[in-house]
Amino acid sequence: MSGYYTSADHFALLPALMLVLFGSAILLLEFLMPKGPARTRWLVGFTLLGLASAAIALLRQHQALSAPGSRIVAFSGSFTIDSFSLYFDWLFLAAAAIVTLISYRYLEIEGEHRAEYYGLILLACSGMFFLASGADLITMFLGLELMALSFYVLVGFLKRERRSNEAAIKYFLLGSFSSSLLAYGFSLLYGLSGSTNLEEIRRAIFTRGSLDAITALAMATILAGVLFKVSAAPFHMWAPDAYAGAPTAVTAYLSVASQAASFALLLRLFNGPLSPLDQEWRPLVAGVAVATLVIGNFAALTQENVKRLIAYSSVSHAGYLLLGLVAGNTTGLRGIAVYLAIYMFANLGVLMVLIAIRTRTSGMLEEDLSDLNGLGARHPLYAAAMLVFLLSLAGIPPTGGFLGKYYIFLSLLETGHAVLAVIAALYVAVSLYYYFRIVRGMYMTQGEPGPLASSIGMNVAVAISGVATLLLGLFPEPFLRFAAGALVR
């Protein structure tokens, strides 16, 4: 009975399968090793091994899909490997690997070094793979939940810290609320079309033509659910609390990988089954995008906690990304892909510098803006890296961040949304103010004297992110070709 699980199915599933395998095995590995520093190094090594084996499987898929526009359809059409899913899968793997590297030091400081943390990182990553490859409502919902459930636990991982508990409960309640709304929308889509396959749903909605009550309710619940996930206004309330209370390494993972996966879901849904309704949702999404820009940028101006500031800046980045969906042409979609990758390295970079300067002895638990004071003198390399990351987040030319914003603005102009482009450009100016507050603190304020201790894993991660951010800005050609292939459908 090999008809149920063909070799094509296996080939398509292998990267996610590897992650699940290693994620489960690492839970048992913990019991085989005696407690001590050797075990923690084994756990990190085993996690990286899992990510590497997923990367090898992914590389083989990459080679199999070298022809443009080709795809592998597996599990009777519920799982697709195409250039879109490959692009996102590479992003997720890179994020998971960097987060693993920076977690070691963080968990050491917190004294919470346990196997479950790494298991959950791997499982969340496999959930994201299912989100990027899903071609069926059931697959996508399960992928989303696998990711979200892992993140609920990761956010609350410092279970003796009240702030971590609170962040977890808030993220959990709002996250599962949005998941349930999304599930309700999915059930209505199934009712409208009689199928859970995204392509068949698209055809059913297309032939249905007009917007009736059920279609409208389905669209509204799905829109609300997805906008929650990408932390767009007015559904962004969970983001600042979850980001600020979570362990900083998890904040990094949440703000880039979960965000990218949610955008993969958004693109799959709104360019797939809901594309016949684009006349209805485009103005709504445009309104939400502008509101997100306004709230994210203005709320970030007054924050004193770096993680909250980064949270609001992430909200504003979600606004730019949504504008790419509003434009909806090839440039806009490519812009989203480019933007997500560049944003990933820059945001990971900012948060890993925060981890690098964190020490238990100095009692630095709140991550205030003032903690960064004088970093330029204390550790010039970290300060320089931080400067690069912030420039990229703001979108200043030599760095990659400029490229992402350039494509988004270009797509808006191409599709005749000049007003939106002007508004978005104005808010870039607002964002400069709060990013430069951090820079001013680093270089123009006296901080605690004395150099910082640094670790090898941390330096490697900072170097990778810094170089990636600069290279993407200076030599974008190969990367752009890769991203361009990502959105052929």
Binding site: M1, Y4, S24, A25, L27
Partner: protein, 118 residues
Amino acid sequence: MPAGYLPFFLFLVLAILFPLATLIVAKLIRPSAPLPVKREAYECGIPAASTSRGRYAVRFYIIAILFVIFDVETVFLFPWAVHYKALGWFGVAEVAVFLAILVVGYLWAYKKGALEWV
């Protein structure tokens, strides 16, 4: 109102009226003897140690969570059981994989001491 549902609604009305009537009749004919001991929580006849609204130990919640998880996972075994013959060895293999994942979870919970009563 759908016609076929008349008996159902009659039953509904009856189900609401019967306990109400019983309570009212009982109230009318029973002797009234309010004693404080009557208001205590029932604990097998011995004097009550605490109120019935007291807190439970967290242990109960953890056992309940574990029970619910492993209980609901069996829901995936039913479709296989129904189509056991048609699925053949593939079905057996698939269920074995599914159970293996559950066993990993079980082993983890066991090793963490979640099943011990402290």
